[in-house]
Amino acid sequence: MAKVDWPAADKRTLIGKRIDRIDGPLKATGAAKYSYDINRPGMLWARAVTSPYAHAEVTSIDTRAAEALPGVKGVWRDTEKEVRYAGEIVAAVAAETEEIAQEAATRIRVQYKPLPHQVVDDDPKFFDAAKDKLNKREEGNVDDAFAKADKVVEGEYGIPVIAHCCLESHGQVTEMRDGELHVWPSTQNVSRYSDQLGGAVGVDQNKIHVECQYMGGGFGSKFNSDKWGTIGALLSKQTGRPVKLLLERDIELMTAGNRPSAYARIKVGAQKDGTLTAVEADIWGTGGNGGYNPPPVPYVFKVPNTRLTAKGIRTNRGGQRAWRAPSHPQGCFLTMSALADTAAALKMDELEFFLKNVSLTDRAEVYTEELKIAADLIDYKRKAHPRGDPTPGPVKRGLGMSIHTWGGMGHPSECDVTISPDGSVEARLGSQDLGTGTRTVIDIVVAETLGLPLHAVKVQIGKSDYPASGGSGGSTTVGGVSASSRLAATAALNALFETIASKLDTAADNLEAVRGEIRQSDKPENKMSWKEACALLGVNAITKRGSNNPGESQKMHLMDGGVGGAQIADVSVDIETGIVTINEMVAAQDCGLVIDLKTAESQVYGALIMGITYALFEEAVYDVKTGRMLNADMEFYRLAGIKDVGNLKVHMMTGKGYDERGVVGLGEPPVISPGAAIANAVANALGVRVPQLPLTPDRVIAVLQKGGNLA
């Protein structure tokens, strides 16, 4: 009888190995069809029209000139009267070609009555106490702790609003066929994508079929059908034709979600030996035109006496969306910056200071081990120096570090595994692969369970018609699908054992599936090939469902939640140009049992690079006067290129103490620390803190001019 527990390390043939992603060849050759690539017969192209005003009343929308253009087939007008940010969609048009749609969009005349707007997010005076409530939290005896502290260090720090900038924009292809709605969206949430769509367009939920085989990045911004999903479906209904509506880049950057900003004044109290005793933080920032969740400060370190107040500033900007590890990069940057400044004020080595205080965290041993590994990887002992690189010359070098945490417990997930009489195996689940390697993970788990090679299993995901699986957010996918596919494959295998046990003159309990054979565990020569065994099924395939119930799977150690990670950055700063260069970055990260070491490492490398990008380049810049985003394009909303990332080293924590926890998600955690580690490294290089991300040359120079270090 096959057991659901993960096999022991010496029994694993696939799990934990370095395995190429199974859809790699399709992606590398351009054969993978993303939602943007779906071309349906008779399909129309749609374009959206957006408000140029940050706040206005729409008084009229005249689409006549657009409709008069040959080739225009449908128009959509918003009935909502108020626009709340520049870039909000107010109308759309569908036409025979993309060029006609583009031209028609310019012919839609929208009249606005401009209203006062407010886009400033970095000044707490814009907090509206009449409308929004002050967020307050207090623990311990803060004033007393500060009074008794040997050292009290104060600082101001800031991390701006950034966008998701998924390379595949947001949008979908929609098609009405025989009263049913087919949607090919770029989504992180195949099974529940249509939750809000059915009602909005008047199609019953069970008549909506969602398919997304490949998608070009979401990072938290692609869970729902959104306004453009509704518009596309309505245009399909109106015209009777399939409609492709993918947002143009500028619209995507303005409307499709952002990561909230966070600015703070932070006061830290510590003893002479570095022990943290108190933290007080005043935080403000914006989540756009909606509410604001303050970031966790202090982060990771449970300092005994803390006081936090947070002010959410409403702005006439697009709304926030989850951005890889929501709230954590902000909380981490604010906290770790303040702590590194405290270490410097105490004239303590940063690593020693962090190690001293890990006892205040939930996983002191893990962080200690990780910090030491990271320090070795970057040659900390040799390179470290107190604040301010003492070497002459314009290029200053420094090290900085940070630690982070995340949950990553698997989500509910259902999976069907079918074993057919011809020996073929199929796993079906309504999950999706965002590029994290979900397909590959499912393949590895099912193949390992059945004792088969990877190519013997066909993994079918990406359709809402398959058994439901959770949305891919919060690093919940790998735990969820690993557990459900393990449960399903084990159940199917045991059903196969039942069928064939008598042919091998033994009980099902004594059988095991190994290397393409089914054999008696204590008498391996009593065996038959996988194909022979399946042939005994006659005409009836076996299909078993695995349902991942997170609580139970955690108890069975199939999966777990809660991880830690440590990162150290080595940077150079040119004090004449203000340019920050990443020399090297190292990451030590745990995530329980690793299913595919290769794609797991890719997650961490990718997170480091995404982190370098927001540390050095990313910021949504708004013009106070017009309320418009000034860099809604990819020239000025900069992403790191291949030359910007330096040498990267990743160490995955595996083996004893980690593997037995089961699978834990990995997508979010490693993206949390880079901003903090890089900012701390810059402070270590210069001897002064550049308080705000991104660490652009103008900010570096401004700080140096004030600090006098340029001379």
Binding site: R21, T97, M610, L648
Partner: protein, 206 residues
């Protein structure tokens, strides 16, 4: 075109915004030279469009006839008319490289070139470099070094890298960093990519 074109500075970049911005979609003499278009220009007295004009594009070794308005970019012609969707539209204005194709073996941002400009040239799209069953060395190296996550930037990178390794058979990491600056990835696949490109170059490249 000379052999000296740098992959980080694809050609055809500056004209496209201007041309595409014509709106009505007419194209005047002087900007374009291909034979078919020359005929059309002669016939129409120096201006083609705003209606559709016939073009023959040589793509991946095959002549494909299509009829497009002059304002249609090569990228949109490939994706929307010919269903060659390997090249991606990301910025649509010459910043990201996701739309890279080879024109006469040189990497070009196809969003920044008009389809009518491409007539008379040899166009190679990602689909012409290999198939999942028969990948070129760059594609194999991308898979092996996991130089892709969501994969949306990947076809553009593979095309650019294939041209790069042909030009730099002994590419060093420094050359890779300098030479592949014309493409962007959001998922952060540069670590694997650097290894992939050096590896592919060693194995004889594309």
């Amino acid at each position: 075109m000379s052999d000296e074109i740098d992959t980080s500075k694809p050609a055809g970049l500056s004209r496209r915004g201007f041309l595409k911005g014509l709106g009505a979609g007419s194209v005047a003499t002087g900007l374009l030279s291909p034979a078919g278009l020359k005929e059309a220009l002669a016939r129409e007295g120096g201006v083609v469009g705003p209606g559709e004009v016939p073009v023959t594009l040589k793509i991946n070794g095959q002549n494909r006839k299509l009829s497009v308005e002059p304002r249609v970019t090569l990228l949109d012609a490939l994706r929307n008319r010919l269903d060659l969707t390997g090249c991606k539209k990301v910025c649509d204005r010459g910043t990201c490289g996701a739309c890279t194709v080879l024109v006469d073996r040189h990497p070009v941002y196809s969003c920044s070139m008009l389809a009518v400009e491409a007539e008379g040239h040899e166009i190679t799209s990602i689909e012409g470099l290999g198939t999942p069953e028969r990948m070129n060395e760059v594609q194999k190296a991308f898979v092996h070094h996991d130089a892709q996550q969501c994969g949306f930037c990947t076809p553009g990178f593979v095309v650019a890298c294939s041209a790069f390794v042909r030009k730099h058979p002994n590419a060093t990491l420094e050359q890779v960093r300098a030479g592949l600056g014309g493409n962007l990835c959001r998922c952060g696949t540069y670590a694997g990519m650097m290894l992939a490109v050096v590896d592919a170059a060693k194995k004889g490249g594309a």
